[in-house]
Symmetry: C2
Subunit: 335 residues, 2 copies
Amino acid sequence: MSTIALAFDLGGTELRGALVERSGDVIARVSEPTMAGAGSDAVIGRIIALANKLLDDHPQAKVMGIGACAPGPLDPKAGIVIGPPTLSGWHNVPMIDILGRQFGLPVRLENDANAAALGEWRFGAGRGTESLVFVTVSTGIGGGVIADGHIYHGRRGLAAEIGHMTITGEGERCFCGNVGCFEAVASGTALGRQATRLTAPGDGSAMRRLSRDGDVSARHVVEAARAGDASARALVEAEARWLGIGFTNLLHLYSPDLIVMGGGLSNGFDLLAPGIRATIDERAMAAYRDVPMVRAELGDRAGLVGAASLILWEGEPGTALAMVQNEATKASNRA
Amino acid sequence: MSTIALAFDLGGTELRGALVERSGDVIARVSEPTMAGAGSDAVIGRIIALANKLLDDHPQAKVMGIGACAPGPLDPKAGIVIGPPTLSGWHNVPMIDILGRQFGLPVRLENDANAAALGEWRFGAGRGTESLVFVTVSTGIGGGVIADGHIYHGRRGLAAEIGHMTITGEGERCFCGNVGCFEAVASGTALGRQATRLTAPGDGSAMRRLSRDGDVSARHVVEAARAGDASARALVEAEARWLGIGFTNLLHLYSPDLIVMGGGLSNGFDLLAPGIRATIDERAMAAYRDVPMVRAELGDRAGLVGAASLILWEGEPGTALAMVQNEATKASNRA
């Protein structure tokens, strides 16, 4: 059996674990609800239990280390989950230190959007490019940038917080307190909210029928648009325009070789792409217009395989931090 | 005499040349109007004449190569000035190739804002940081990003086109055709335009007195605000807010250790800084708020010394492209 990494993707809702090969193939996968409200000690206890289960079920696996990803803000170099809004009670949790002590293995930690960007770049839609911007459009909007073969980290690993890039002066107030965040106008949540507002329970509209007269979600809008509903199509068109404005900014700011769109709303990529492209063609400066934009390929395993690759591809492009983290883990193990 | 580089900063208005030491000290400087309208052959002829003059005046100088900067879009790796709006008639001019053949010296080419960012990072306000975003606020808004000790280039060297980042849905149409570009609402030109609109020739206002009843420029606004004029102060406050919105985006997107503000409007940095800082404190997520913002230190020599350092600091951080360009120059010289 080839060398393998244990991988974890710690989401606000779901905690996923996997055994991943160097090729990016997932040979075993487990998941359970995160129950973030229980606090960091409880969740880390469950990560350890999942790890033990995966290891017990695959005694022959040659596990080289643990790659984990979690929501930001997160300091990948220090190995610390700083305090994500979706994980209540997490404040400066030293994940690398805790897991390193527990298993005596090298541990890497990365922001979930960065890990997904790395996964798509190494194994998915971004294979063969030198640089890409990965955009995940879902409840919120997150991003990860690969440049010159490395995750673009910036100070404390906090770069590419693209959801809170101001792109307009209008719309709903973002949870961060500002008006005009990319996420506040263009996330799946924003799209669902627009649709819910535009319709009413029992109005017989396609979107409300799909939602069984509950709140309309982005998924319902996409389904209704796909079925030809005019209101849903108009909403998808407006959504594509916001995405196009944001993507144009990303082109001007990062100048990637490729934009990869993932997240829940990428289920509607085929419907959104023409409008996004038209907006880019209208707004981007000429030298940026020929950059391709594609749908992510790895779905919800992008973060897992990206995190695993931090272990299995150590020393190769994309793992600039590996040695630093290794030293930190060793030092803490000695202490 | 220590080793030296010939440096050129090719602006839309002024063509500057210098002899620069490895320390960043400028030991000789010349300049003349660019007369961009005359086309690339004529301008390059004048660059060659200026170079010859500098070399003739300093026969003892040990010149290691030529570092040049010019407005973007520009491909630093290929050494080509692609076609800046401010240099009419320039289309894909192979600057490295032309100057390399002429002088038989290594030549490096860089976007002017990137070169200024590099200059401020090595010799100016950014010394000692690992990463910074340099923002030049003047006729337009340009930017350069230093990350992990290197200029952040992106595809074709086109990253950090921050002036055309959409930050609002309001305001004047930008020359690029869009509404809401950072440059369109926050450049010195935009500030002057606001002031001109708010006042009228002969109205006795402080700003019009300073402009001798002509159009009011950003400089006049800053001067009037410094003298206590209430209208000018309100304009400066609004300007600071736009800059703060844009700078907050730059923090979220690049997560630098430092923001350095240069360009003509940085003459009013002391007046603008409190409003910019208040806007950042209001809008940036907590983890980004403690990033310092300072005024550029090198004025109009930032680009020259940054370009020179591409030659004199070759092989050190910040010159990742040096060898590639060297090979390209050698290849073309052999041809």
